[in-house]
């Protein structure tokens, strides 16, 4: 049992902070971070930013050496996520590709797919989106209806996707489509070129970030067989692995903790931190973020020891959601003026991030179902 960082880990964090200090513009919070990582302005900025991360070897350090990484341990990957997410994710959607899309290709891709995609992802100049959810398939993802039927040495894909973040600028989509039947066994993953004929992207105005949500319409989109990841029908297994890590892929605990600390600084500056009730609520919010932090660390601990993931991931995810809400509620209660558009961009960003925290990457009630089933072993209703 050890709750401290090793010297290399501390150095790595310091290196990341120095990198950020050097490479973020002065108006980063007010002009970029506040808009969310999917805002066109941030996505444009991220191209240059990611190139610099590549130059300094920071983008895919956690990847295996054979794919251009440095085999950095999972703890360093967590530190990277903490430092990036808590300042508004300047990598934009590149974090999805380096966190789980790239690794899914490493695990399931053909030599050609690896050769083609991994280098591009590691170079930071290709954008990916994640096409899972559909209008009638949210939490019940396995009920998705988009179809891929064999045609001309490939597949014809028809259907639609919704809530797809980053779709407006994405080059590729990790897409789920049904190659047969109506169950999870008929789901297949495609690495779809977003410039394919028949792909239409429509933005949906949302609150979680500028231009975050999109609908993707797929009308007779032809994809070559080489775009299929893994076997037909293996999609569910691939996605389960991908999503498992992703539930704690964004270090929300760190962002929430920093938001509480910043709110305290803000309230002190306004002379409003002396009331005992304000102090009490601030610490309660911070305690929620620290609870989430340790539960997330518990998940990474297993990963670092090469143990298979458990329902602990869902436990950590629920705690993360609670920490996001606790920080946001503290801000709403004691610094409401700070969340006006001309208010404090750090506090504004936190309350907006917290909005979607219980829905994105798997709704929290689904996480509670998983905890009940896989951790408490409670019986099913049937």
């Amino acid at each position: 049992m050890e709750f401290g960082w090793s010297e290399p880990e501390r150095n790595y964090r310091a290196r990341l902070r120095a990198f950020l200090a050097e490479n973020l513009p002065e108006d980063w919070w007010s002009e970029y971070a506040r808009r969310g990582p999917s805002a066109p302005k941030v996505m444009a900025f991220a191209r240059g930013f990611n190139a610099k991360m590549v130059e300094t070897g920071l983008l895919t350090r956690h990847w295996p050496r054979q794919y251009g990484g440095e085999d950095a341990p999972p703890w360093e990957h967590l530190i990277l996520s903490e430092e990036m997410w808590s300042i508004g994710e300047p990598r934009s959607c590149a974090y999805m590709a380096t966190n789980f899309i790239g690794p899914a290709i490493m695990a399931y891709g053909t030599p050609e797919q690896k050769a083609y995609h991994l280098g591009r992802i590691a170079a930071g100049d290709v954008y990916w989106c994640q096409g899972f959810s559909e209008p009638s398939a949210g939490s019940d993802l396995a009920s998705l209806r988009t179809t891929a039927t064999a045609a001309d040495g490939g597949y014809l894909i028809n259907g639609s996707k919704i809530w797809t973040s980053y779709a407006h600028s994405a080059d590729y989509c990790m897409l789920l489509a049904r190659t047969e039947g109506a169950t999870r066994d008929g789901i297949t993953v495609f690495l779809l070129d977003m410039r394919s004929k028949g792909v239409t992207v429509r933005p949906i105005p949302g609150m979680a970030g500028e231009q975050d949500f999109h609908e993707i319409f797929l009308d007779d989109v032809w994809a070559p067989s080489e775009a299929r990841l893994g076997e037909e029908g293996s999609g569910w297994a691939i996605v389960r692995t991908a999503l498992h890590g992703e539930r704690v892929g964004a270090a929300r605990h760190e962002a929430a903790a920093r938001a509480v600390a910043h709110a305290v600084t803000y309230l002190k500056a306004c002379g409003r931190f002396d009331e005992p009730v304000v102090k009490t609520r601030a610490v309660e919010a911070l305690a929620a973020t620290e609870a989430a932090r340790l539960l997330v660390y518990d998940v990474f601990d297993r990963r670092a020891k090469n143990l298979p993931p458990t329902a602990d991931t869902s436990i950590a995810r629920v705690a993360m959601m609670l920490s996001d809400k606790a920080a946001a509620n503290f801000i709403f209660e004691f610094a409401p003026e700070a969340v006006c558009l001309d208010g404090d961009p750090k506090l504004f960003t936190q309350v907006m991030k917290a909005l979607a925290s219980g829905v994105a990457a798997g709704a929290s009630e689904i996480q509670l179902n998983l905890i009940a089933r896989d951790h408490l072993h409670l019986p099913s209703g049937a």
Binding site: K279, A282, L294, D298, E365, L378
Partner: protein
């Protein structure tokens, strides 16, 4: 970073587990909760009380044991003896009662042979004389006691200011560990109960309304344990105050849900749930309760003045 016990720590936990298994449901008369002398003797005999002061071990190792013991059905005093006394380097006869207000009942005071008592001037540590304390019946599922006469400021050894600060920190650590153990005990018991109790031709544990609440309480119980263990590992008073804040904040919902899901059984003395829930209820108000811990944490984290 490593959130799991080391193999050596696990060996210690494995050595304590059989002692706890021996501790069956304690007989109880009226509202006096018995002290488990057998378990206490086992812990003394195996040297666990001195663990934190044993070469090669420290407070973090002792903390793991305190948390484990606090989940048992039967109750012994462990936190003050295994954490507070070694942390302050005090030699006090076991059991030790921690008394926040000498005019009010305190946990373990009826069976304690020594006490650390907070007062206006800070804190005093004293050995107790026969007749100096008496049993204070109540619902708190600890042997509760009170002083039979006022504690005079000249009794015992007065702790220095830095020692008082340390005392508060380890006291908070201990209460968080004890709460983590009791939450675990109450939840484990309740989860098993809802798997077997059937209504409407289904195990009640199959209802999502119950599942979600038990899952949420599990999140809180696991977090309480990790926060407390982190505080033990770091020795940081801010960590201890945060852990205690979180623990005391989480207690009411754990009590409520466990009480609720055990139905009327949970409102009887024959059903053991109350051993954990009434202990949690006692811990909920220890040292002034959640807002007192939170304000102490706020001072430690963001304050100018030296914190209590």
């Amino acid at each position: 970073m490593d959130t799991q016990p080391t193999p050596e720590q696990q060996a210690l936990l494995d050595a304590v587990a059989p002692m706890l298994a021996k501790a069956a449901a304690p007989p109880k008369e009226g509202l006096v909760y018995d002290y488990d002398q057998d378990l206490d003797d086992d812990l003394v005999a195996s040297g666990f009380h001195d663990l934190a002061r044993t070469e090669g071990y420290g407070l973090a190792d002792a903390a793991l044991i305190v948390e484990l013991v606090s989940g048992a059905l039967k109750v012994v005093e462990a936190g003050a003896t295994m954490l507070v006394a070694p942390g302050l380097d005090l030699d006090l006869p076991h059991p030790i009662a921690l008394v926040a207000d000498a005019r009010r009942p305190a946990r373990f005071l009826s069976v304690a042979r020594s006490a650390i008592v907070l007062d206006d001037g800070g804190a005093v540590a004293l050995e107790l004389q026969p007749g100096q304390t008496e049993t204070a019946d109540g619902i708190f599922a600890y042997p509760m006691g009170r002083f039979t006469s006022p504690v005079t400021p000249t009794e015992g050894v007065r702790l220095s200011r830095p020692m008082v600060r340390k005392l508060m920190s380890i006291w908070r650590l201990s209460l968080a560990l004890e709460a983590a153990g009791a939450m675990r005990g109450a939840l484990d018991f309740t989860v098993e109960y809802v798997k077997t109790r059937r209504q409407f031709n289904r195990a009640i544990g199959s209802y999502q309304a119950l599942q979600h609440r038990l899952a949420e309480r599990t999140v809180a119980a696991k977090a309480t344990r990790l926060l407390a263990l982190q505080a033990a590992w770091s020795g940081d008073p801010a960590h201890a105050a945060l852990a205690a804040t979180y623990a005391q904040g989480a207690i009411p919902a754990v009590i409520h849900d466990c009480q609720q899901f055990n139905g009327a059984n949970g409102v009887t003395y024959e059903h053991p749930l109350h051993y954990w829930t009434f202990r949690l209820a006692a811990l909920q108000g220890e040292l002034g309760g959640v807002s007192a811990q939170a304000q102490a944490a706020a001072e430690l984290l963001w304050g100018q003045d030296e914190s209590p």
